[in-house]
Subunit: 306 residues, 4 copies
């Protein structure tokens, strides 16, 4: 096996990272959309709305575990874009990350469709529809509730993604409450769970353009088409990006900006360059060399985050 | 970003702490009341009572992660007041903390109302009522069950907050069972979950005057008014304060008072002044200087809580 | 506060431990029976059977956190008895531990009855009954399903407590899979959750004589009396004791006996005498002095369990 | 007790490991099938589908805790087989492991049948059937939904086990995201939970030939026979083996093969030989001597996984 591995080894960091982002998003969607498919086609006999919340939440947790050590686990174009806007991720990498994320979501939607092919055909009598009692398009992309206005949906997604970003930034802020090393993916998954429990009923808490676009493209191509609510599709693409920036602003201006300076080396980040805080470091504009020795930049100093 | 941050940096500790308390309570309420809104307006198709329990529990967890490193994460006037009564938090800070907590809850209630505006209007046919089949006031403040007497509600809140306090104190007691560093917010969230599962049906387990007063003020001003059960509002303000003190007494007299003295330095707390036990230390009357070096007060001595 | 504490300080270890056992069991029951009361009196609108499972599971977790550092958190006469039979806990202490455990359960049942007084009266129309559609005795003690034979119930409790004991012993076995320090109470709570999910429907998974006897005595005295199924009461007292011994045998003979000897000091336990493995040590017959220095018995040797 | 243990001590590693595999699978099935029995015979009044998901998930967690330190906790013939194919587990041990795993599942099914004997007889009126409204065979083995084609079921099991393997390998990959020491069993349990929530409705997510074969043999012998769907039984035996290999390929080719080489000692694994990464090490072809000193192979070097 090792010899096979050595032969196929990719040395391009960008390609490695793109593969990891692709697999990470794949895991989120194959678990999340799988849970929707299970609840929908079993007519709630094998799960309820909370199963869907748990599916996306734990999917996020394991999507992060699968990719974090390689790509930092953005897994969301809104996150990648925010990092670029803030000057903390190279713009050059952005299209590759986004393409990989959307591709992962597309492939996962296809996997779910394959796995639930018999179930969808049986439940829908072979009619692939977006609305009506046997609609199955909701297995893939998100659709707004009937009562929801377009701006209501936009605001919903801005608030949801904003709160998500505040919590993620707090979990990664080494000068706020420390978190147990290695548990960040579980805690981020719990944030996604909470948003699903409290902000999911209006329009399905996409929070992530790739989570929505990939499966929507799949279901469009695979026969569900685009009946009804045609004007909705751009909301889960644009609103999460706005929300992520708003959330970063709120956390920055209410908490992060006011941390006391840490003495003489206040301007030099004194975090250890461990995998665990790669994302946190990038958020502060620090280049992280994943091949560098992992323990402690300053000699004789203990790692503050361990 | 860093240059922006440096320009807006607040150097007043009291103001920093107030901002953190405000954001922390905001997170609790935006998740908790959001979950109630989702269950109510979706008529239980997108969640059940346990979703509400999880919303408040995980809201508490992330409210603590967002604020603990700055303000100690009281997030509850009953906790702040108890600390002042016991001489462990300056009385001078109390009004600022309470104002920030209530403000955070008020703003979160407004956010929930904005996010669920279309849903509430659709569910209630535009009638903002406190009682009846399409009542939506319960999204914000707590209301007692119809069968509940005023004193029954008072006792319920005293017991609930008392048990909460016993568990919080045990989790923070370094001479009792140690807890994993960094997981205290999750364990406190689990306490809130358990109280919601076992003491939530009588009157909605406020346990926290700010959690109740902020949203009640919002819903009063925003058009729900104060129809019916007018005499209830003071119970979730007063009873939690009584309960917190009772709980502190019970834990102190049954467990804490009887810990064996730890030898020569029994009167000097030998805990490390880490963020993680700031609250525990304050409960023992130790001033915690958040700017001091975090590792180990006594030279050559290892941190007992790590 | 500290001066009050110093005045009431109890120096008898036995009394301290009894108080801790009493409070620990109180927490289990006030959360567990509270959850039953909530589900029963709200007619499943504020919780389902899984809420009850979670109530007892998390009650166990926090009951352990509240008492482990003082008494080792037996919290169950079947556990205390097993330890005595195995010669690992002094017989002299047994009646005190059991009395404290049953007293804690009794007081918790009384607390639940007080907290749910209005709700019980409303739900049952003031008729305190053991059977029938508005029966409320099940809030307190356990009762078998109608189809269950006495021996079926006995076997159910032996299996349930046996599996509980196997899992607890595995979690405490430092030569098997290590567990994260400080998380044992959460993992034991998860074992209780799993038993409730998979072995709860026959007769309510007492697993613990104190959990059953205390509330049964309370409900008998408080007016529910002892109508029907009179011959049941001894099963949840005797069967868990048998099951605990069977479980200890199974784990010992299948796993523990076959651990390779650890070299020259195979007979001397080389565990650190931390609070965290007090119970594990006692299970191996080691006296644990809770006042001794906590870090590392053998000089220069690192703690193997950390 | 210790003297009894010394007398029965088994020195054969293979026998010790087989006993541990047997007990580990027993725990998975006694909790998992127990949960199915509870939901089935209580007609969903004491649990829902999510209880079954939790039963198998937490069963897996505790099955791993019970056996990992002895046998590495394969607990699944598909896992054992994959390791042998990859040259990382001796073929000689394979039949013993598989026999022990199937035996554990068989004994657990018998235990569940004993514990739920009264309940099954009452629910089914004494008719042990595989199909129909009072079918109880589904308590033991897995059966496909009526709409599912044989190949649909095969693909479902390949996808499910493949995703399981990707997540397990990511959790054990020390060059990807590190996980907290001692929590691997909980995280693997969460993977099983997620698969149950999102891939359970088609044919009951066996994922594990032993989980299916043992209980199927029991129910065949105990009177349920083999009515209907006779051609199904080989799918949950073969498809998980295919899926496990596919998953290992996918993770290897997308992530593992591309990790940067770690400098001079790139070919020598520098992991500490702790219990916690025994399985991870075996996956990389390293022989792990469980009796060797546990801390750090290379002198003066810190353990990278701690």
């Amino acid at each position: 096996m090792d010899s096979v591995f050595r032969r196929v080894r990719i040395r391009s960091n960008l390609l490695r990272e793109s593969l990891a982002e692709c697999l990470g998003v794949y895991i989120i969607i194959v678990f999340g959309c799988g849970a929707v498919a299970q609840v929908t086609t079993s007519e709630s006999t094998k799960g309820h709305y909370i199963s869907i919340n748990l599916g996306f939440a734990l999917g996020t947790t394991f999507g992060i575990y699968v990719s974090r050590g390689v790509s930092g686990a953005h897994l969301n174009p809104a996150v990648s874009l925010s990092l670029c806007v803030l000057g903390r991720h190279p713009w050059m990498k952005l299209p590759f990350y986004i393409f990989a994320q959307v591709l992962g979501a597309f492939l996962a939607a296809a996997t779910t469709a394959l796995q639930y092919y018999d179930a969808i055909m049986h439940f829908s009598n072979g009619q692939l529809t977006v609305t009506g009692p046997t609609a199955t398009a909701g297995i893939f992309a998100t659709y707004p509730a009937e009562y929801l206005s377009l701006w209501g949906g936009f605001i919903d997604q801005v608030i949801g993604t904003g709160v998500l970003m505040v919590c993620i930034l707090a979990l990664g802020d080494h000068r706020n409450t420390p978190i147990p090393p290695g548990l960040a993916p579980v805690l981020v998954g719990l944030v996604v769970l909470t948003i699903g429990l409290s902000m999911g009923s209006n329009c399905g808490y996409a929070l992530n353009p790739a989570r929505d676009l990939g499966p929507r493209m799949y279901s469009y191509l695979a026969g569900w088409g685009d009946q009804g609510r045609g004007g909705w599709w751009w909301v889960p693409l644009v609103a999460p990006c706005v929300g992520a920036l708003v959330g970063a602003m709120v956390y920055g201006l209410l908490i992060e900006a006011h941390h006391p300076e840490a003495g003489p080396d206040a301007d030099t980040p004194d975090l250890c360059q461990t995998l665990d805080n790669k994302l946190a470091l990038e958020m502060e504009g620090v280049e992280v060399d994943m091949n560098a020795p992992k323990y402690c930049p300053t000699e004789g100093q203990e790692c503050k985050t361990t």
